[in-house]
Symmetry: D4
Subunit: 252 residues, 8 copies
């Protein structure tokens, strides 16, 4: 599939490696089997982003060990939906790890400073949407994007958004975060020609249905080109924007 595997296959073809041995190396190369988890160290080559740790349902000990495996392989760490307790445990082993409490992210940088390039905008409708917006923004920054934050610009006061059109037009992609009726991505999308990643949040009550109302509004946007991620999934939106952001680079 990718270069290391082709090298291996050529070794087999050259008779320098048996088929059985090749299979074993393949496994060793791609997977760091911790018993409870198989850390996918090849993912950074396939996906352009190391495996990210989804913390819910994992013990602090499991999280720490996966972080250790990634760090040992020289890969930067991003762990999502972490609790303060989980971070406290991680920090004992990895004192350089950073906790972004609002966004519930743990990051550990082992490759040195990331060179940021390209510009992403992260927009949100209300103050209550900020944690999800921050998760998106930090994720995109983790992937090397410069991020402009435009917060609390919901449709009840449109002029607040209109002041920031220039910022929106300068972004390679725009993440738009909103709960309740989820109208903001349509309004933003109607103003600019940039790809829009919409993130519904669970802010609201009753028929908000924990974000379903906002989700449906975003999926039914009358503005084409808006695409949507799961409710409260700032991380996913950040990755999508981060991948788009890289396309403008010469090396891509």
């Amino acid at each position: 599939m990718h270069t290391p595997i082709i090298k291996l296959l050529n070794q087999v073809a050259a008779g320098r490696l048996s088929a059985k041995a090749a299979a074993q190396r393949l496994e060793a190369m791609a997977e760091n089997n911790l018993g409870f988890a198989r850390v996918d160290l090849e993912r950074v080559h396939r996906r352009g982003l190391p495996e990210v740790i989804y913390c819910p349902g994992k013990t602090a000990d499991q999280i720490t060990k996966i972080i250790s495996a990634l760090a040992a392989a020289g890969q930067n760490v991003l762990a999502t939906r972490a609790t303060p307790d989980q971070f406290a445990a991680v920090q004992r082993t990895h004192p350089q790890a950073v906790f972004h409490e609002l966004a519930r992210l743990i990051t550990l940088n082992v490759t040195g400073p990331v060179q940021r390039t390209g510009r992403i905008a992260v927009v949100c409708a209300g103050t209550s949407d900020i944690p999800v917006a921050e998760e998106a923004a930090l994720t995109a920054e983790h992937m090397g994007a410069v991020v402009e934050r435009v917060f609390d610009v919901g449709v009840a006061g449109l002029h607040r958004l209109l002041h920031h059109i220039k910022t929106l037009k300068n972004a390679r992609a725009i993440v738009v975060v909103a709960g309740m009726e989820g109208a903001l991505p349509s309004v933003v999308g109607g103003l600019v020609d940039r790809p829009i990643i919409a993130v519904p949040t669970s802010i609201g009550y009753g028929t908000g249905l924990h974000g379903i109302a906002a989700l449906l509004a975003m999926l039914n946007s009358c503005v084409p080109g808006v695409s949507v991620v799961n409710i409260d999934n700032g991380f996913g939106a950040g990755v999508a924007a981060g991948l788009i952001n890289r396309l403008g680079e010469p090396s891509s």
Copy 2:
């Protein structure tokens, strides 16, 4: 409850009418029993609007007979969701009846010209929403309102709406009709201080869920004071706006 009943009760108190006879008159007064239907002729006194005929599931013959009962009582007729076939049958008995095809309404005016007063705005997002918007507009006119129509001003091109803010500000109530993501009532509601009746339409597909997406968006509007009626229920919105419109009159 209302005047005729109080008169009757006073007659009983005055010994001019037996309790039993009073009960019979009460029934005769209030209800025109056609066998398959009991026409509520008192409704115009209680509700300010004669009984309206919901056509689905009724035969053309039943509709015609109910219209005849209302007209005989000197009450104006409004029949909703009528088909061309139903109208054709009605017209044979009531040649003055009018069919509003786009809005699927039959009207029959027996009281002479309605004096229109007060101003209602009916706004819709797209061309496909016009039938529902027309149903609302014609209903409000039937109840005596002057109606301003502002059609095809969806949020994908906000400037189209902004040109009409003055019209919106001059209305006593605003009916806002939209399908798909249903964002328009929030945007309109953010701009003016008038009561907003939002009508979701079934325009859209897939996750639009036949209007549920628009409905949920409207119920979760971040703008307070937006209230909502059933999907495609232009008639109900027209009645709500018509009732509000009357409040501005001196007699109220």
Copy 3:
């Protein structure tokens, strides 16, 4: 859009203000940027009601700062769904603030006594619906309405409601609050000719689906002119009734 903006534009036309300077003033005028929130101080002009603070998901500190910004601009404060802890913090800075515990509202009056005029009725089906009904009633009073409360008159004992028909007929708008099967708005709506704002509550269990059953009943009322707000949204119903109530005033 509204007067201060037109003035500004005229200044530009008169050459007394550069386009760039005008844009900056526009932003300053309309928005009080606190970093985490952009307080929409113009909203009172557009909407007839200052920006209202939705407390869930905000820290007590954020709420206090937004209140301070509004009060500093001379605008009355309404904060919804506040907790006792949030109020305790607010009160330290704003000792005149009032907490309406049942309705979970914080109010702070900075403009002096409100002259109440017009009459709104707030009706509820059961004792458990009272908190939502109170939220509606207090909101309408905040907007200047006189409010009549008719509580615990559910359809299981219709005579309880029938005693209050006169009160209902004298109201400019009627807010009807009910959980469980949500039948009360239809019954009230069948008796009077006033606009009805129906509020489903989450009272009930099982197939009540946290208020969805009541909501659907209200949206499908056989009585036209009933419009509906989100589940437990007494605040929104109070605003809708408050806006309608003003229409009867000479100045409207």
Copy 4:
């Protein structure tokens, strides 16, 4: 389980019948195997009502054969949701069969006139609900009840219902049929002390969700003692009322 089986078991105990032969007779006795269907001829003994034929998805030929098997066993026939075409085919073999078109029922009486006793009321909200109400009424009559029909008495005009309270109080059970918001069973249930069987209908549109709104309202009635059957299931309600009606008989 019931008498014929006990007899058979006694024969086995008495040595007059082998266990194997008993098993075969048991099967023959209880089931008339037509290949595509096993007509449950014992059902009339267990359930007090012969097997009823649900027509959808069956060919006219299959329906005719099942009717023949029931008639041959001397059992009265009831077939639900029949089409005119299905009836036309049945009638060729069973000219005495009767088609109740509105209620979509086929009946064939082979036991001679049914002695009707006890009194059931069937109430419906609107003209469009009559087909379902008739299905309930005819089914209860098929089971020997006297049925009082009270149609078109929806909650939008309560006085229409109040005229019939005496009829409701005299019934052993009351079937209440309603679509849209389904409020009628609660109102009826609040007035009398009789068991109420509520039938939601699919009348309505949009958020009526083909009867789900009415169903939920009925399941959440604030009046205890209301029980509910499937949407449009007049037949099931008729059976429930018919079974209750028999309890008042001396033999029960």
Copy 5:
């Protein structure tokens, strides 16, 4: 409507009472207004059962006062879904009150021993369904029925049910309580000719959807005559069975 009201009306007709005075007495007679609640003391005459107190959302103080009002009027008390804390408070004022902890019911008998007559069966599928089944059983006993309990006879071991067919056949009505797949009412209904009140419970997980799966199964029973109440609504089923049970009495 009922006797006391007719007496009043006759007094008006006889000139012994003014219309206004009659209206006031009517209100006083029917309603005990506690401010937060209007106790419906006439309900026992209309419905055959005094008003029952739904405890959730009410304070212990409110519950105690409503109990006092009912007891003062000589009516037996039933309060549902009570917590131990609520009972502890009630008991301070009403030491004779009884708490049925499993069923979460408070009862207070003020009329002396109830003469029980007629026979109801309450059947449940599993041990976890017993609290709901007990609520139904105690309610029916409160209404004067003799109750037979047949518990833990789910369809996974059919023979457990078959041992009790005689008990089922002797009941005037059968309450069948089941969670998970809710199949038990169909199986019971297929065996006997008695009215069946099915109660879905929230026992289960995942796609059980807190009782929706069982509810749908019961509403779609292939056995006609099964009617259904809300999820976990043992109380409602008990009332329905209690009302049916009375029909067999000579006085009905």
Copy 6:
């Protein structure tokens, strides 16, 4: 992965084949690219069943071409949910193809008679469920199973099922097909120790929700070991039973 691929890999290892050539052969071997479809001719080796054609959304011409490709590769053909028109077109090219109208299946046998072994039971609740049951039965026969059909044995008449327990006990797997309340798999599962594949059907109306009610009942069976396929998916159940059936063979 499977033998032909391992052979190929060994050729690469032996230097008899270049890596590039191996890749091309791999593609040619596995896939018959018709432009609009890539027929997966290797599937029979991986899955033990050739690729099956799902007819909806395909033209008769596309279906015919896929059948030709499979037949040319010597693989037996099964096409599901075919219409009579689609079959008529297929038959013109493949006159030996057979149409099973009730089950909507097209089969074309090109390998000669299938040796049937092992025993599967297919049970259904009502006559209307037979088409789905037949689809399962024919699919299992297509995969080499002997199939016993036990039809129309729903829970309303349990004795009909009890006569067939021996047949059920002799089956290696039991497919149970039911609509409406979907109770039959639980009852069957409670009687025998064989794996049960439950198939909900869309038979029913209203709250049957086109088979969702039956599906939920089956997923929540109180009998462990029942597994479930999609609504009306007789084909999938037949494959599951066919795969289980093969396990009893000596070669497994």
Copy 7:
């Protein structure tokens, strides 16, 4: 139905036992009535697995008594979804009982070592799915299967799964456990010819809908032969696999 019952019936036929006495023995034999529960001791004969205890909603005392009844009858015990507290109580009476904390299972072996035979694979997508996977694995082991665990092989890194194809091909049945998008069963099913039991888990958030998204994906697998159990129902999947596993044995 099964041997002991046939013996009993023969005794009746032989006159050695009265019908009444036979009925009593039948009950005693099959059911151990603890008052709150009827332990189905015959189930092991019918189903090949003793009755399993579902712990939620049962007291520790009830669980202990049911375990005692089963153990006294010489049957192995399996209790699902047990809490540590419930186990602590059980252990006081049954010190040999074992708690599998991750899988929430209590087991008590009273028949001596189980001879394991046949091979089942249990596969899961992520680390968070392991508790459900373990529940399936331990249940299958309880039923005598050898279980191969293949954990953390989700579709985001397909190569992790491909390394284990041989293990999958050697299994008689494969349990596949996945949350989120639930794609793993389709991918596994596309690779091998073994029956697949898919288990959706509630891992995920937002539109994962507590496992509904994974469930729907599994029910709609494009790979035929995948059957599905309830969300998080590792136990049910383990039983299904355990029953299939036995089919390969000579005695089946």
Copy 8:
């Protein structure tokens, strides 16, 4: 907002244009009011794509007139979900218009040949998904992208997809179209580092819920960076991919 508006504003500032005249020109410039529609001719400047015509609910005459307005303004035309009848009418006025029947698109090129640049991949799972995939592909081509089609590569035969990894890696964005279980976007997303736009289709039946199952799967992908559009919304996905594709250009 954009250049022409800024020019206008400068003219006002320079005193060359009155404020009122500016407002009129603004309207004329941006909107072509056809009565039933307001064609948004400025959209091409804001959004980089002229207004696209959604055909459902519009008459052929309305569609033709909107096309004429766009063409007259020199803008290329795209009309979605058109029927053959609608196209036939359009063609009479615009003979150069082209109908893409499979994708239901009408295009009319008035600007001369589009210079295509950048590379997009459109992947679909099955033959039945091709119409939606074609809609996406043609839309992206309309926006200037080179499109690679990779069709019928569903997860039941993974090797079909693996042959095309190079094509996927060379694309700037990948549109992945799938119905049924919607697993394909996760599998594609796990292999490459490109932004993925997932399109659920309504292909499937039963619990596929007309595409909801696929939609939920895609929203819950365990692979981050997958974003989703409405069911069957190939057009929206094509726009999203087209916007992303332009980012790679030097001018962006």
